[in-house]
Symmetry: C2
Subunit: 309 residues, 2 copies
């Protein structure tokens, strides 16, 4: 069975196939978009999307546009998050951030363009299934429209953008964040797009997913929460040379996190509990067609929440 | 027959119906989104979308989500354009810009969220037609997927974002822009989204649009070009109290425009020629179902390029 690292490399290759050639009048914009994508990362969202697609028997090629799209959306959010007006980060994964390399205006545009590109890729793929030579491929089209809908919903106000806005607002007001607010921020800023990846993959597998949908949604929420607490702990205890960015930023910025409220020991216990919850939901899925993929996801959840980078 | 002003007010009401209530943890984000939309404007893109939809016999209610979506996309581009790293504008239409009112971080997020919201609205509408009670409404779904595809394409690298990036880049390098580059910038930064509005409206009317598509695309390019040259002239000759923003900005910023290259007299001649071209394309449309709408569009093209604000 392939490891996460194999999957990550495979995702890298697939995403690369959706990048534009750096030429013409848009050259610099495309360079900034490609630079942002190629800066690397775990490719966690496309890997999850692909795995849940396989779990429910999706045609492999149909997963690829959505894998590229979800990574573009994740990347746009990082590019905008790093901007001077937001987190003002100059380094990400050991490399200059997009605005450090291309200037602030181009970084804003590159983020915008990545988000648009994601939706262009998804709607082109949907168009392809509707206008197929032998008539519309209705089953496929259902999956694609549903997947697009999950992704846009969880990237916007009801997900990532909503979570970021509360994060920005509490930062700006300089007040401590309540436990309930932290929960809301993590659930939206981090869990939502992981949940969208898993749900989108599953519905691309067709109608066979049935009532597993709500278990997948719950697993996405739980694993995202555990993942984000681990991130906070790494910001305190992590090794900069492994993480590829400065640690100790939350403390310097006087930022309340789950860990600053609950302490490391209790936070580790929460990570274990949330990860177990997420795994239980995955174990309870009833319509899985590929058991190897279920095992891959269970192992991945452990790896994600035990990671050191 | 209704005037443009009646249509603008109607569009305002329709768009209002798609705005979210300002409550919950996302309250400030939603306030910033709504503030940006409610700042007003000509509502040109939704009015064009609606008119082309009617011209090809689209069901009125199906046009509404797309009218809201295209105005949200236009608005997100203005919010990001006004940012300090871009044009650094503090006033738009006589009111503080979004970042002047809500801060830079929230303005970046509000722009992002408006773009996401547009795609959420469009994909929800598409989902509705696919999952209708009596089975999928295939004809409707075709139109919606096609309209979404036009809009995302012309908002991204192949349109607005592409045009903005060349604009930003030539600004940053501080060099004069060539005539060919100006053409590219106007065609993408301004024409593309007008073209998308007209095309999206037409395809929502169903397959009856046929080969009129290419005429509509040409008309969109021409009218966008004329519209942008008028904007440049207004920046030189306009009345600030009517326009609602500072004039003379291009000159102060040392920015080359079509007008700084060709002079006002020649530019006025170009506006007349492009407007005539656009009107000829509209007159040549063969499958129009509502002739009153054709007349409305012809008059609107004149009004747009003769305007004083």
């Amino acid at each position: 069975m392939k490891t996460f690292d194999d999957r990550r490399k495979e995702a890298d290759q697939i995403i690369e196939g959706f990048l534009r050639e750096e030429k013409g009048y848009d050259r610099t914009l495309i360079e900034a978009m490609n630079y942002s994508i190629r800066a690397g990362g775990k490719r966690l969202r496309p890997v999850l999307l692909q795995s849940f697609g396989r779990m429910y028997g999706a045609d492999e090629k149909r997963l690829h546009p959505f894998m590229a799209a979800i990574e573009m959306i994740h990347t746009y959010s990082l590019v905008h998050d790093d901007l001077p007006a937001m987190d003002n980060d100059m380094l990400r994964r050991g490399k200059p951030t997009t605005h450090a390399r291309f200037g602030e205006a181009m970084a804003i545009l590159a983020g915008d363009a990545l988000l648009n590109e994601a939706f262009t890729i998804m709607s082109d793929e949907t168009k392809r299934t509707l206008f197929a030579e032998d008539g519309p491929l209705l089953d496929e089209c259902f999956g694609e429209v549903y997947a697009t809908s999950f992704i846009s919903k969880y990237a916007g106000v009801d997900g990532m953008a909503g979570g970021q806005s509360l994060d920005v607002e509490t930062d700006k007001l300089g007040r401590d964040v309540t436990g309930e607010e932290i929960h809301y921020i993590y659930l939206n800023k981090t869990s939502a797009l992981l949940e969208a990846s898993m749900l989108a993959g599953a519905v691309l597998g067709g109608s066979g997913v049935g009532k597993d949908i709500s278990l997948i949604a719950s697993a996405g929420k739980d694993i995202g929460f555990a993942f984000q607490i681990r991130d906070d702990i790494l910001d305190i205890e992590g090794d900069e040379s492994i993480i590829g960015k400065e640690t100790g930023q939350d403390k310097r910025n006087g930022k309340s996190t789950f860990v600053s409220i609950h302490g490391i020991e209790e936070s580790e216990a929460f990570i274990r509990d949330y990860t177990e919850e997420a795994k239980t939901h995955i174990s309870n899925l009833e319509n899985v067609k590929d058991e190897e993929e279920r095992i891959f996801v269970l192992d991945l959840f452990d790896a994600l929440t035990e990671r050191n980078h």
